[in-house]
Amino acid sequence: MIFTPLNIILFGVVGLLGVGLYGLLITRNLIKVVMVLQILIKAVILALVLAGKLSGHLGLGQSTAATVIVADTIVAVVGLALAVQVRRRFGTLDVPRISTLRG
């Protein structure tokens, strides 16, 4: 039986991870980039909880997951703050147009 609850969560992790990485590859809007990062984080949180369950250390998995939520909220905040500044300075959030440093 492939659709055990654990497997469904595993598919969720893999799916979210795939969506996130694919999103990072194609997204051209900075706000969306930060959002895609959040999708990746969700995959990770799910994975940590799942790992806790699989190894029988449920508490460990959940406490790490909670910590990740806190830490990555800060990253998201900083990212969005930077995006706001970028919008102010460049007048755009389009990735190719804010790519001036190259070579």
């Binding site: 940590l48 998995g61 910590t67 900083v78 460049f90």
Partner: protein
Amino acid sequence: MELLNFTGLIIIPLVSSPVVYLAGRLGTREITLRGRSYLVRVAAFLALLAAWVPFAASVRTLFLDGTQEFNVSTIWLRVDGISLFMAGCVLLLGTLVILFSGSYMAGEVGEEKYYAMLLAMIGLMIGLVAAGDLFNLWVWFEAMAISSYLLVAFYREQSASLEAGMKYLVQSAAGSVLVLMGIAIVLAQAGTLDMAQITEAVSGSAVNRLALLGAGALFMIGFGVKVALVPLHTWLPDAHSQAPSGISAMLSGAVIEIGLIAMLRALATLTGFALSWGILLMGFGALNILYGNLLALRQTFVKRLLAYSSLSHVGYILLGLGIALSAGIELGAQGAFFHVFNHMLMKGLAFLAVGALMYGMFLQNGSHRALKIEHLAGAAQKYPLAALAFSLALLGLGGLPPLAGFMSKWQIFVAGFQTQNAWIIVLMIFMALNSVLSLGYYAPLVNLMYRREASPKVAAGKPLTWTIALPLIVMSLGVIVLGFFPGLMDWFTVAAGRQFMQMFGK
């Protein structure tokens, strides 16, 4: 709580960080803006000076009692040779950078944030190297990363530094997600996150080896973003060139190497699987050396050139570690750690010297422009000290004696040839030829500074202050002294090298 041990070394910078910030925000009218800025600088500097006391105490304990463990609520610290070595590097560079920043950052908007973030970053880096638990390691790493994003994008008015900060943030965050995935796999397979126990827990037959190898790959790439392995390095030239010079020095001299330590710690838990990590390290090392050198050859901005040279120096370090792992030669690890220290000195010195020139030529004239190579022409006439320091740093980076860089590269070469493995020897010759190639971009800079016709920017430059001059003098002396007496660092690098071999069970 006892502060005269390693915990004190972490707590002092971390606690002083908000204190400094608040001191800079004191709203009372009695304190003028200048006074406030002065207060912030002095407080930050004193805080780091104070941190040397617990450092000395921990060094003493390490050599008397060996590895120590601390347990602050749920935070596990394990202090070994590598921790102390890296903590020493960070503390030394941090102290000098804060001293340097005294004039360099004077009067910038948000000066108090700068010092608060810098202190926090230093504390977090020191915490990271002592982390005893895989997840703790990630937390320290992430917190350090956040403080470094803010420092890279410190000049909010400049579009280029915002761009650099944004790219840095997204790439680092992507890397950190990969690390977390690796941690999840390890947790699922091993059922513990204590780094000392994982190795044992995964050595049974019940584990999924492919999954654990996957976790290793995730660690390597995830932390590798911070270490700037090619091709994960793309953020580095932007971030290092756009950050304030003191931060560039910190990023190049300490943050990269701290990332490397985090990567090694994580990989060490997964030792004993199939292919040696050493081979991968050597592969990335060779790639980094070549790529960094070639791209540095074509740069027009000085700090960007130095950033690319950091790539190639990470390559030398990786080669040394890779040799140690794949051939079991401890000397390679010692050489690599020696090179970590020397690179910290030389690259830190290079960035600070460039910062000094920028301070005199641009900042004092109210401009935030980036320093181009042509601006260096004749710099020695007005800034003999900065030019000399920069020359020493560059020639040292190029591996010329009698400077520090020669000695550490030599140690790595010796280790490589000792393997008597034809492939590794070919790699060593490749590394040596690359060192020669690197002189192709270091040497002309030195030449340019000693020209008789000064560039107009130099002619219009303003003098430097003693807080800028002092770190340059200290580091220049270090670069020369270690070139003549490489043995001075032995007691430090040998302990770190031995710990490294132990970590990987060699």
